[in-house]
Symmetry: C2
């Protein structure tokens, strides 16, 4: 298990992987940089060659999360030509992501603001879907596409955050979490 050396950059990724493992197993509160080092088989000071500090490692984890989310949303957006259906599926994909990777999701939205959602590529995917729906007159064009996309993102984000913390029955829902998103979007947008 204990290794004597890593070749270029291999330790960096090993640390990120180890961090994700710990986050998934025990959550954010119990996360320890020393333990990450221990798992990788290096001394507790070794991570400092690759990350400025504990926070920077978590930021790197968050960055991988944003990339995973973006890919998922882009695949989802491409999965249908119908504007309404695309919006609903995007909502489902967002909430499903938060339940499939709660450790990543929490880390993403705990990390420093520079890694925030709005302005990121993931937001662009949603923005395009909203603009498409407006063009096809599925959605009103009175609120701007930006405001509408921001509203929808906030709704999905709130849904994800709240449903991660609560037993689903208290939401008055027995269905899988992504159905929560689609029925909420339907209810709010009148789709």
């Amino acid at each position: 298990m204990p290794r004597t050396s890593y070749h270029h950059g291999a330790l960096r990724q090993a640390l990120i992987d180890g961090a994700r493992e710990i986050l998934a197993e025990r959550g954010h509160e119990q996360f320890s940089l020393n333990e990450v080092a221990r798992r990788a088989g290096v001394s507790t000071s070794a991570p400092y060659r690759h990350f400025e500090n504990r926070d920077e490692l978590l930021t790197a984890v968050a960055a991988q999360g944003y990339e995973t989310l973006r890919q998922s949303l882009e695949r989802t957006a491409a999965s249908t030509a119908d504007a309404t259906e695309r919006l609903l599926r995007l909502g489902g994909a967002y909430v499903r992501f938060s339940h499939d990777h709660p450790d990543l999701f929490v880390t993403m939205f705990r990390s420093k603001p520079d890694a925030g959602p709005v302005g990121h590529e993931s937001f662009e995917v949603l923005l395009r879907a909203v603009a498409d729906a407006q063009r096809e007159r599925v959605l009103s064009t009175k609120p701007s596409a930006e405001l509408l996309a921001t509203s929808i993102w906030a709704t999905l984000h709130g849904l994800a955050a709240l449903s991660l913390r609560q037993p689903h029955e208290r939401f008055g829902m027995s269905a899988p979490p992504e159905d929560l998103a689609t029925s909420t979007l339907s209810a709010l947008l009148g789709l």
Copy 2:
């Protein structure tokens, strides 16, 4: 500064107050139970007479936050007889609370699930406002009041969470944070 004793229950509240101070000054990451004790002028083991552990103190802080939020929402709900206006004001109050007390807000939604929002008194206030709006045909009765209230709560929660993390310009908004809530609700509900 250092006191030799507290009379019944006084230390408990002093610890809660100290915890809120630290949370407000330096945020969750830097929070330390030892420092809370130091500020109260007692030994590091003294808090354990009043709280099982560090987490229980944070839960007590969260409980005070829920109570403050409930009071704010209830006052807001009573401030107008118009159902539409009441919904919009409730949205504004929720987001304003998150910006006035970011430390409380973050602590509330980080603490253990048993302190969750849905099912709490704060949720009841929103639920009544939604039911009223449906009764007056301001809102559609097709989605149940519960689903609609949950959707609105999620939207407000997401808005609060995201806007706390981002400079407002990236939201395409220059207005104060509570206007964000009202324009979002208007856009989504067609109010």
